[in-house]
Symmetry: C2
Subunit: 228 residues, 2 copies
């Protein structure tokens, strides 16, 4: 069974590609260089794709800095730092990139339709990032309906199925799952800042570090700041 | 009222940008260089955007030849030529580009969300191209639901509205509408082939020529082949 897997190189999507393998899929990874703040996560995506043994890894290039609208695509907007984890889910953060998951899933759909793939895996998660509108179950359902109506396969009754195995998991559950699957955490990259070492202060680092800490585990990734 | 308008430079989308102006919108045009067979249609899009007086014109670049799957993104697939117009709607043609409208609408949504635009105009047409799955009313409805659920505006009850004024029009009706609106047909470009003059033999040329002929009008665009 062929599956397209959205792979950013972060903790979540890296777990998803190992899950897709465990589900018996031939994986076709897809990543995006949208002129985000750094290329570091793309290096991580390449490393994970290779280690997980995907059949092919496509990197699609486009430029979302053309209109900005996010701290990840507009350098004049500061990244939040040192925020308490509890505060992160309360509103849409400045790191939200307008329509990013919709763009990503659209390209994944195109790739899947060309491959005649049965599944599209995405690591969205509704719990820890509930500030993002495009990470919730009803959003995923709406995209599934688009997959059904937009494609030749869908018109024939076999649309690619969106699989989102992390949708209802907490970050600690994702780490537990990744440990079972053997995800090499040290090769992943979650930090928004993209220095030589993870910053340990952006929302993404703090959420990740807090989850490892809650589990009594050490994150093998080197960090600049001391763990909170 | 701000509106993002998908503008390919063809007959349909050029009519749509003039319709959006007539509806009282400040127009923000968006076009796509996806490594389609030729850049000629992008030149047309630039010309129409300027003549219609849009506020801004974004051209988004990406490469759909990475996976092909269409005669427009894979040079080894021949363009159909000299097909009877009646045959065109009976099946999905080789010029269908997998998930293209979904990708286009996703970028338009991102642009609209950043602008806080109220509308997104698209020139899809369910009648003359019923072979394309992503040009039908139920597909547009599904994308509207994505617009509602994927965005900050949608979560606040004001999602950008997809407006598809050509959805139920025949090509002849579109030309009538464009004539009322003053669309400069000679600046548009519909041909798939992209030579110095329109080929007059691809599906897109034939459909356009047949509609002008049915109306007893002359298409002001120069063609290589004699009109059918």
């Amino acid at each position: 069974m062929k599956a397209v897997v959205l792979l950013s190189g972060g903790l979540d999507s890296s777990t998803v590609v190992y899950q897709a393998k465990a589900d018996g899929c031939e994986c076709y990874a897809i990543s995006f260089d949208y002129q985000q703040r750094h290329r570091r996560e793309l290096d991580a995506a390449r490393a994970i794709a290779q280690l997980a043994g995907v059949v092919q890894h496509q990197i699609v290039n486009f430029d979302l800095t053309q209109w900005g609208g996010s701290a990840l695509t507009d350098d004049t907007i500061d990244l939040p730092s040192d925020r308490p984890v509890e505060a992160m889910a309360s509103e849409i953060p400045v790191t939200y990139v307008p329509a990013r998951n919709t763009i990503f899933l659209s390209f994944a759909l195109a790739y899947a339709e060309t491959l005649d793939a049965e599944r599209v895996y995405i690591g969205v998660n509704a719990l820890d990032y509930s500030g993002y509108p495009d990470c919730r179950p009803d959003y995923v359902d709406a995209m599934q309906e688009v997959f059904r109506l937009a494609t030749k396969q869908g018109r024939e009754g076999n649309p690619p199925q969106i699989v989102s195995p992390l949708l209802e998991l907490k970050k600690t559950d994702i780490i537990r799952l990744g440990n079972q699957l053997g995800v090499p955490w040290e090769k992943t990259w979650s930090c928004y800042a993209g220095g030589d070492r993870a910053c340990g202060r952006c929302d993404s680092c703090l959420l990740r570090l807090a989850a490892f800490k809650e589990l009594g585990l050490e994150d093998p990734l080197p960090y600049d700041a001391p763990s909170p």
